[in-house]
Assembly symmetry: C2
Homo-oligomer: 141 residues x 2
Amino acid sequence: MKLTSKGRYAVMALADLARFNNINPVSLRDISLRQGISLDYLEQIFFKLRKKEIVQSVRGNQGGYVLNKKAKEIKLTNIFDAVDEKVKTVQCKKESKKSCNGKSTKCLTHNLWDELENHINDFFEKKSLEDLIKDNSERRI
Amino acid sequence: MKLTSKGRYAVMALADLARFNNINPVSLRDISLRQGISLDYLEQIFFKLRKKEIVQSVRGNQGGYVLNKKAKEIKLTNIFDAVDEKVKTVQCKKESKKSCNGKSTKCLTHNLWDELENHINDFFEKKSLEDLIKDNSERRI
DNA sequence: TATAAACCCGACTAAAATAGTCAAGTATCT
DNA sequence: AGATACTTGACTATTTTAGTCGGGTTTATA
Ligand code: FES
Ligand code: FES
């Protein structure tokens, strides 16, 4: 059960962006250097974040990205959703009546995995970008 | 972020075992048929479960496996630990002072991932095999 | 005591997912 | 004009996962 780099990077990059989100847009080059993430990979990630309207792009020289909403309104859920980082605990189709092993009733553990999925998603639902940078600056005092 | 089959199968198989854990040992063949899990794969999994003393084996004809502890005392944590299903949210070494990007201080998101890891592990710590089968038989009434 | 059922254990492999790279653009500031 | 930076799709190497395979050993029971 592990978090993929794509999801981790997306959050890291947005935390960086939120932190340096002044008047000027932040370039991916800067984020790449500060966070140690491949520029090409970041571009893929921000392409998705832009499509989901989490960030806005400013093209051209001196361009970059800015947050499209307040940090408080961007939940981890939104970020993970944008980059297709899903929490998946079961193989069986949620909607279909077929169980994971092809039988017609849900298997013994189906409810457990459902609970687990909800438990994890709750965490993502509760955390916003703002929590992240606030939390961090407090610790630096 | 997804659960691997190995972990899922381990729990499914033990739930099955707990359910049919009467006087006679339960053969992997039976579990394989009931749960639709490859027999060869189950053998790998039970090899590990036995090494961690979660199950006991009974060799020979009419043999199989039995639980080595009460269902109440087997937590999901123990099961996942036995089959090396770990919750991993960070790339950086926990103990080392190096961050994920090679710098000397922890990155902006390090604490977040730590919290997430604890949040998930809490769930595994709280659930026992007994909860699983009790929960399930209640629903069948 | 022969046989079949079942566990034991290491090695190998196919498929899928991940984590990127590469290339060829377009827009905008100075 | 030139540099910087976003845009987009396609491609690829690496790693992980989810098995398979093969050759054991042990033990109940016919
Ligand atoms: S996990 Fe849904 S039926 Fe087994
Ligand atoms: S996740 Fe630990 S330093 Fe970045």
